[in-house]
Amino acid sequence: MSEITKAVASPNVDQKEGYWSARVTRERTLRLVIIAFALVYALFPVLFIMSSSFNPSGSILGQGIIPRNASLVHYNALLNSPNNPFPLWVWNSVKISTITAVLAVLISSLSAYAFSRFRFKGRRTLLLTVFLIQVFPSTLAIVAIYLLLQTIGEIIPPFGLNTHAGLILVYLGGALGINTWLMKGFFDTVPRELDESAMMDGATNFQIFWVIIFPLVRPILAVVAILTFVGTYGDFILPLVLINEPQEYTLAGG
């Protein structure tokens, strides 16, 4: 057990020991064993999903990992049905998710930077409000969002019902929430001396943000982008209600 914990908490190879020393080898083996278990845990249900996709009956019950009579009927139906333009839906999904993820990262990083770097009246209140608003159970909001997009669509059709832009707008509404908190924590760890020296050189706040901070926080930007992308990609309730034209469907909606 102590080996595990040792392995767990030392993030980097001890510089004094060689890469192939006995201790390091032992630690690496241990990590790899844990990783092997983790991968099995993470992936075995995925195998079943793939296996059932080859199974003609469409049920996962009573099947092994290798389907008894493998068949491509589902794939055939998926790719060649004129009624379900599946590749188009994938494209729609990817498009919407990518745009949402990029914009969400931009919007929330702007806010996170301000929360992290500026001191102003109302900062705490705003921070807390942003947090608390998103614990509101949004299950029922769908009716309101439908009516909202309908109203907007009557005035600005490109953002109404049945449009991808409208859907993206709805997703971005949540961009300010937990993402901002996640990023703020990371921004806080970027030393302020960097900002200060840049400011001495006459850089504007935006330049500091864009040129200095932004590249430094890439790991968290990536995390937020992935979280947003996957969240959008996997959502099926909103597209189901807001999008009613097969050409505009997203993957999950179809």
Partner: protein, 533 residues
């Protein structure tokens, strides 16, 4: 915490850096365009009578102007895009939900009063009637090449007439040339110069449906399959909010969103509009017989479910993140990406797969466990195991999220800290508890609290997985959480009671709010985050 980066107190960036003239002009132009757009948008919203939305847009616009014109509010410029979207897409639905909680919006009351009244006043089939003294006819319609129309009418006595717009009726089509042989119903199969319209042509011809045939004194229109002098059946009096059915003379008054006859309370007009019911939904909620049921069991489970879901996913996600967070792991990036695959699969698919995997009779997991131990847990029929099953599924669905978050947070911990502690001779276990975890919790703490709040209301998974079963009583199940249980009440009677559901939402929101604030206090996460830097 001070170790992360020593804050220099009160070194603020209070204002924007001195603006260059070009920057200022760009900003003003931007604001001008935005204002112009907003004014136009608001005027359109007001024309559409979307008052509340118009109000929000005004607020957002004023905010933008203030933030971008005032130096004092400079920091808010950075929030403006996020805030604007949040107000529009999150706050608006929230306020709408609160509003609905005080109305009877739901089945039977789905429209606004205006929409409902309008639906009775439109000249459509069921809104028309044939007044006393007017003759109903069966008819056939004919259209000429140049767009003239002719009706052939047959009254109840079998008398036939031809009718054209603006001309008196002609008995048996006298004076019209080229009337072909009559079909079995007595309508001419052809009329020279005219084409007889079939039902579809008739229905898709917008002109004929609004055409008045015959003279002003004896005007005839068509509706559905009849022709007659139709009149509007309903008249509306806004002052008293009554609708009168002119065909019967009955007056209907709007009572609780239903137009009800003044003489017979069982005689109502179809459909209804939504009206305010004050605290009615809240009273229903707290006096409903179902609520007095197994509420305690469900509440405790709701809290446990959210708590365990967060702790288990966090523990698992963090462990994996730690194991991967080392240069010793070859192919780290690829392996790590593989771990995130579960996250890329939409939850509704994974949940169904898990339902299959755990299926008591045939699920691969159950079968394997039974082969090894001769017994497998009754995942769906036993209260305890059903709950364990739900948590297992939540754990699998949720660990990649936590792993991602922890991976990001771990990278923000500077390695110098570890080096310092190495010198102090702390062992790995101590380092984890005294350094890694507390540092991690600073940035991850709020995520955990938000994750708790999310899982408190996460009934999507439970509904897909086992619908809250197994049953405690006929209306509640062992894995039901507060929101799934109460929504069952709101949507139970084959109807949708949005009013009640909204009231439930608000009550639950307050519960979550209180728990969240307590969490913040309890963990000290709030203080740390707000003081840090």
């Amino acid at each position: 915490m001070a170790a992360i980066s020593q804050p220099q107190k009160n070194v603020l960036y209070p204002s924007s850096t001195p603006a260059s003239p070009v920057g200022l002009i760009l900003r003003l132009v931007g604001i001008a365009i935005l204002d112009a757009f907003a004014i136009w948008f608001v005027s359109q919203l007001i024309a559409d009578q979307a008052w509340f939305l118009a109000f929000l847009v005004v607020i957002v616009t004023i905010g933008f102007n203030a933030f971008f014109l005032s130096e004092r509010l400079y920091p808010f410029r950075w929030f403006s895009p996020g805030l604007a979207l949040m107000i529009l897409m999150v706050v608006y639905p929230m306020v709408y939900t609160i509003y609905v909680a005080f109305t009877n919006y739901g089945t039977g009351h789905l429209r606004t009063q205006e929409q409902l009244v309008q639906s009775f006043l439109e000249p459509r089939g069921s809104n028309l009637y044939i007044p006393e003294g007017a003759t109903p006819y069966e008819f056939a319609a004919y259209r000429s090449e140049d767009g003239r129309y002719l009706l052939w009418l047959i009254d109840e006595q079998g008398n036939a007439f031809a009718a054209a717009p603006g001309e008196p009726l002609k008995a048996n089509g006298e004076g019209i040339e080229g009337i072909g042989p009559l079909d079995e119903d007595g309508f001419p199969e052809t009329i020279q110069g005219f084409e007889r319209l079939n039902r579809i042509q008739l229905a898709s011809d917008d002109t004929i449906n609004t055409q008045i045939f015959g003279t002003a004194e004896d005007s005839i229109g068509i509706s559905g399959r009849n022709a007659a002098r139709f009149e509007l059946r309903y008249s509306y009096d806004a002052a008293s909010n009554t609708i009168t059915d002119l065909s019967t003379g009955t007056t209907y008054t709007g009572i609780e969103g239903i137009y009800t006859s003044t003489t017979d309370p069982n005689d109502t007009l179809p459909g209804g509009y939504y009206v305010g019911v004050g605290l009615g939904n809240f009273i229903d909620l707290f006096t409903s017989p179902a609520i007095s049921g197994p509420l305690i069991i469900i509440f405790v489970w709701t809290v446990m479910h959210a708590l365990f879901a967060v702790l288990l996913t966090f523990a698992l996600g963090l462990s994996f993140a730690l194991v991967f967070n080392s240069d010793l792991v070859p192919g780290k990036k690829i392996l790590r990406s593989a771990m995130l695959i579960p996250y890329a699969i939409p939850a509704f698919i994974s949940v169904l797969i898990w339902r299959g995997l755990l299926s008591e009779q045939l699920g691969p997991i159950s079968v394997t466990v039974r082969d090894w131990f001769g017994w497998s847990p009754p995942w769906f029929t036993d209260a305890f195991w059903a709950r364990i099953g739900v948590l297992l599924v939540q754990m699998w669905l949720g660990f990649p999220y936590m792993m991602l978050v922890c991976m990001g947070a771990l990278q923000s911990i500077p390695s110098e800290i570890y080096e310092a502690s190495n010198v102090d001779g702390a062992n790995a276990w101590q380092r984890f508890w005294s350094l890694t975890l507390p540092l991690l919790l600073v940035s991850v703490g709020p995520i955990l609290i938000s994750s708790f709040a999310f899982n408190f209301n996460n009934f999507g998974v439970i509904r897909l997985y086992n619908q809250g079963g197994p049953a405690i009583t006929p209306t509640a199940g062992w894995t039901d959480i507060l929101i799934s249980y109460t929504y069952r009440l709101a949507f139970a009677a084959g109807t949708t009671d949005y009013g009640l559901a909204s009231a439930i939402t608000i009550v639950i929101f307050f519960i979550v709010l209180v728990i969240t604030v307590i969490n913040f206090r309890f963990t000290g996460a709030w203080e740390e985050v707000s003081q840090n830097v």
